[in-house]
């Protein structure tokens, strides 16, 4: 039972990373696609305002997921890290370069340096979710062996991997555009609201199409998972589809209320749907299940205790951060500081 609790914590962490970190990557994608300097100024400004106060906090969830994964399921963690070492390295490099580019581009003065660091940030925002998606695809399609000796291109370059890589990128773009639509609407900026609503609808449609294609591909690459998705996890799959449709309808009718919650619910339904569909298998195609791959009982108990303590510590801080951010108190401070600097 406790192993199921830990697996649930892992999926919850993955959902939070997708919903917060994913939107962060998506912001970078829209920055990349915002066009020339005149046309792209307003959307880039909104993206920058939205990401700046929270972008480091959003990536805490990746660390959380990795720590839970390796502490609770060490053999599976070792197998994934070994077999998919290359895309994980590329994602890690992308994460480092992304942070550096984002921080540095604010400080440099000349055009070509701002372009270089800005492009580093935006391009990394594209490759990191893609490579992470390929690793998820490698696991879901059962290409990660139980005891791999070497990294192997075939593990993460199968059709399922490439599709899920593209799907993750599309979902990141979708989430970011949805959040930015709501943000623009809160600021009563109707031009930007239309700008991002239109992009959210496109990204949502592409995500939906890619999800369906992936589902069909899983039918051949991992029939057991397909069976789980269309039987045990079917309610969650339907929920995910319904959330996606509802968001597109809301966007089309110009409403913003509840957009964010619906989009996050949809992503959560996909993540938990995947988990429930392959339960209790941890690495499909191997003998590794939640039970056979789990750490000793004492470690799992400790993990749950630490998780509860962390939630008690971290959740209030996050709520404060998001609420300050939501009421634009952080921006006010920034402006005040800038005024003081000028004055």
């Amino acid at each position: 039972v406790i192993v199921d609790v830990v697996a649930g914590i892992l999926l919850a962490g993955l959902t939070l990373y997708a919903a917060l970190g994913g939107a962060d990557f998506g912001g970078g994608l829209w920055d990349l696609l915002a066009g020339g300097d005149q046309r792209g100024r307003a959307p880039r400004q909104l993206i920058d305002d939205t990401i700046t106060p929270v972008w480091e906090a959003n990536h805490v969830w990746l660390i959380f997921v990795l720590v839970i994964f390796w502490t609770a399921f060490p053999p599976a963690f070792a197998a994934v890290m070994t077999a998919a070492a290359l895309p994980l390295w590329l994602a890690a490099f992308g994460i480092v370069l992304r942070g550096a580019g984002f921080a540095f581009r604010k400080e440099v003065e000349t055009l070509h340096w701002q372009r270089l660091f800005g492009a580093t940030f935006a391009f990394s925002s594209l490759i990191v979710p893609f490579f992470m998606g390929t690793v998820i695809g490698a696991i879901a399609s059962g290409r990660v062996p139980a005891n791999p000796a070497h990294t192997d291109l075939a593990v993460w370059t199968g059709p399922t991997s490439l599709l899920i890589g593209a799907l993750v990128v599309a979902v990141c773009a979708y989430l970011a555009a949805v959040y930015l639509t709501q943000e623009a609407s809160r600021r009563a900026d109707h031009r930007l609201r239309r700008y991002f609503a239109w992009r959210a609808a496109i990204a949502g449609t592409i995500s939906g199409a890619l999800s369906l294609t992936t589902l069909l591909e899983i039918h051949s690459s991992n029939p057991a998972l397909f069976h789980g998705l269309t039987h045990r996890a079917l309610p969650l799959v339907i929920l995910a589809a319904a959330c996606g449709l509802a968001v597109v309808v809301l966007l089309a009718t110009g409403r913003s209320q509840g957009l964010r919650a619906l989009s996050v619910l949809g992503v959560a339904a996909v993540v938990f749907g995947w988990g429930i569909a392959q339960y209790p298998v941890l690495l499909p195609g191997t003998g590794l299940t939640l039970t056979t791959a789990s750490a000793p009982h004492s470690v799992l108990v400790t993990l749950v205790v630490v998780f509860v303590a962390a939630v008690l510590l971290v959740v209030p801080s996050f709520l404060l951060l998001f609420s300050l951010h939501g009421h634009q108190l952080l921006e006010e401070e920034k402006r005040a500081a800038q005024e003081a600097e000028k004055g």
């Binding site: 880039r44 440099v108 701002q114 372009r115 070497h150 004492s298």
Partner: protein, 295 residues
């Protein structure tokens, strides 16, 4: 294996290793910040800003230095009893015995110490406060269970301890001058030393890490798992390490260049107007078209 995860926090080594590293962190930051202002003072900026910028971090770090030396000494004695082979590597103790000498410096080749300053009985005295203290030597375990690169371990330990005493000296001199004149030292050699203190603290800390991590080889988990058993079976370790080093070297250069640029901007007195129409630029407040400047 019976696993008790809480032992990560509550093991015997926590008691001395955790304060050792926390003190080291404060010392490195204190001496490093002080060393920047010491360089300014050497250039002739003896204003209140530079005096405070030097005085506050230097005082903190200098107070912690003797405490750190005491904690480190306690740690060494604990290691002598809990990880005797690591201790033997640190101190060049070839054979278990009494009346063990202490070596300062020196190279270890095939069981012999060359060019080291040999102080009779000193190692036994340091471990048990009397010459007859028995100290476990490298010969207590098979050759395969001894750490490699003994010279590196020993010289890193000596460098760490030597630099700690150099930092202690700098702090004592500043204290003496303060007692005598109620002011910062005037000797230019002191300010050169103060500039060196930052890098010295950093090097001492890194040497400490070399001692503890190379010294515990071949174990990654002491007496349970060797490092080679834990290592990845993937090839390309050198390739990925090279890639990481290159990446961080590039980032380090970029960071230094950007910090220098910020310093130049600060020196000019006013934040410069960035070029207008930048695709990846800072907030638009800075980029109002001319003619619409806020008054």
């Amino acid at each position: 294996v019976a696993v008790d995860p809480w032992q990560v926090f509550f093991n015997r080594a926590t008691l001395y290793e955790t304060p050792h590293m926390i003190l080291a962190a404060y010392m490195v930051v204190g001496f490093m910040v002080a060393s920047v202002y010491a360089a300014g003072i050497l250039k002739g900026h003896r204003d209140r800003y530079h005096r405070l910028g030097f005085g506050i971090p230097f005082t903190l770090a200098a107070i912690l230095t003797p405490i750190q030396i005491f904690v480190g000494d306690t740690a060494a004695r604990a290691i002598a009893s809990q990880q005797p082979v690591k201790f033997a590597a640190i101190e060049y103790v070839t054979r278990t015995g009494r009346d063990v000498p202490e070596y300062l410096g020196g190279f270890y080749v095939n069981g012999k110490v060359y060019f080291g300053l040999r102080i009779p009985y000193a190692d036994s005295l340091l471990v048990g406060f009397k010459p007859s203290t028995r100290v476990t030597g490298l010969n207590s375990v098979a050759a395969a269970d001894r750490p490699p690169a003994l010279t590196l371990i020993h010289l890193s330990f000596d460098a760490m301890v030597g630099l700690a005493f150099l930092l202690l000296l700098a702090g004592l001199w500043a204290l003496l001058m303060w007692r005598r004149r109620h002011g910062l030292p005037r000797q230019s050699w002191f300010w050169w030393l103060a500039v060196l203190c930052g890098p010295a603290a950093l090097v001492a800390m890194e040497c400490g890490w070399i001692v503890t991590e190379v010294g515990r080889q071949p174990w990654v988990v002491y007496q349970l798992m060797t490092t080679s058993a834990a290592a990845t079976t993937n090839g390309g370790v050198i390739d990925s390490l090279t890639a990481v080093i290159v990446l961080y070297a590039v980032l380090a250069v970029a960071t230094v260049l950007i910090l220098r640029m910020l310093a130049r901007r600060w020196r000019r007195g006013s934040p410069a107007e960035p070029e207008t129409g930048v695709p990846y630029g800072p907030p638009a407040e800075h980029r109002e078209p001319t003619g619409r400047e806020p008054t």
